[in-house]
Subunit: 301 residues, 2 copies
């Protein structure tokens, strides 16, 4: 089934203990689309300014990513982010943040995208996520991401959005902040009370937890990657693998959701092995399936 | 097969956000023995002073724990520890530490224990662990625990001990410190180069990783406990469930080791649900098996 993503396109400068990647392509919708395109066709929505040095048609060449929703604003500048990861790779410092086009009006959902069945609202202001979602007619499964600054500063907007989403994909610290509850199992339950029937809590190198309103639970460790060079995009790649598998199968029962979490985990493990999109562009679907099977074997007892 | 444990017996005072437990029974060999006794008979070695208010015969009544190795030193005082856990329960402060008998000569291994096949050397100075191990004739599988202060201050002794152990069960921070390597997969490999053919790295609420010299790996999340009242003894209970399952089956192939990690995980999840030994004394083997099956279901995809 059709899968739509709205999110950021960024020019990133990333420093990690393994090196520096200057002015490389990044952004949530970019990582998401690259990841999801291994599973299903992707409908892409995003905005760049005239300064963007990347040709996205070229970036996604050979992949089933429909760029009809890409908007280039000649008077605007592209979103830029610079960050430094510290030795443990779980914490990072933002060195520079230029919202640019992200602070302007949201992009328009093209008419041909309005019937999308699976929708991922990557991280941005909840009000903007809401405006984008309202342009979709009768989606089957809507998942959203969010972050600490919206939980702190835009809680009412976020709660209003959550009432219309089926699934929230969120980091553990943010889950605790949103639920006002340290224990992640109880945090997941409290978030489901706000609307979503599925909550996926990402715990970085400690894996993830998923719970559903039916009382089902799933816990999965991260893929034990020997090499972590750049964690940027791991969360959006996870979401891409997750939503890609659901849309490919057109199902959201708990067995399918479990496999989706595992696919998300595996795709993210490739992303973090190299800078920018290099970890994802270097692989094929066969590599993903092979690592999926390895993860099954590694966790089975 | 026979399972022997040597470790501490303590009088603990523990503060957590859930309350205070003053002068309660604790110590590594106590938690280990209680946990392992659900699986197999346990041979217990430890020392207390005349001030110990606990009757260990009564504590282990109805459980197959052989206290022949319990030594009471009338002129000595029992080991005491007081600690405070902070909100996230993963970090704690030691408020008071009185080594007392633990700073004296090690206990003697009774003649009837010298043929023990499975041996767990709970955390103490590596030299002491070595002296205890030398009293055992032809053990099949020797596992040890250690901690940061021995890695920092007694590394030569520890390395010499590791050459004679089959398995090291260690916390993630300590694994990184010992291996001088942040990545846990590579840390496990480096530790195996020091002697053990199996390394189990415990990651607290993030679960555990096991690797073997054959190149096998296993990753398991922690049991998603909704209630964590007191983490004291979690690591020793894990070791008790782990070694208990191995000794019960008399096997150490990787499939058995994987189930052992899962049993250790489950037993520890009961320990942390209440103060002191209350979490373990409240349950039966049936509860453990039931939670083992739940953990299988929670992690299967």
């Amino acid at each position: 089934m059709s899968l739509l993503v709205t999110g950021s396109i960024g020019i990133d400068t990333v420093k990690t203990p393994y090196g520096v990647s200057e002015n490389c392509l990044g952004g949530s919708s970019i990582y998401f689309s690259m990841a999801a395109s291994f599973f299903t066709p992707v409908r892409f929505i995003g905005v760049i300014g005239s300064d963007c040095p990347f040709d996205l048609v070229q970036v996604f060449a050979g992949r089933d990513v429909d760029l009809t929703g890409l908007e280039i604003r000649p008077q605007s500048k592209t979103f830029r982010w610079a960050g430094t990861y510290h030795e443990n790779m779980d914490s990072r410092t933002t060195d520079r943040l230029e919202l640019n086009v992200l602070a302007e009006a949201p992009p328009k959902v093209p008419d041909s995208f309005r019937d999308s069945r699976f929708v991922f609202l990557a991280n941005t202001t909840p009000a903007l996520q809401h405006q984008l979602l309202e342009q979709i007619q009768g989606p089957v499964f809507v998942a959203a991401d969010t972050m600490n600054c919206w939980i702190e500063g835009h809680l009412d907007d976020l709660k209003s959005l959550l009432e219309k989403t089926d699934c929230l994909i969120i980091n553990e610290d943010e889950a605790r902040m949103l639920a006002k509850e340290y224990n992640l199992i109880r945090a997941g339950e409290k978030i489901m009370d706000m609307g979503p029937s599925v909550v996926v809590i990402k715990k970085g190198e400690s894996g993830s937890i998923m719970c559903s309103a039916d009382g089902e639970k799933f816990i999965l460790p991260a893929y034990p990657a020997a090499e972590v060079k750049d964690p940027t995009g791991a969360g959006d790649s996870f979401a891409g693998g997750f939503m890609g598998h659901l849309a490919q199968n057109g199902k959201t029962d708990f067995e399918t959701l479990k496999a989706a979490v595992a696919y998300g985990t595996v795709v993210a493990s490739f992303t973090i092995a190299d800078f920018s999109l290099n970890g994802l562009t270097a692989i094929s679907r066969t590599d993903i399936d092979s690592r999926f099977e390895t993860l099954q074997k590694l966790t089975k007892f």
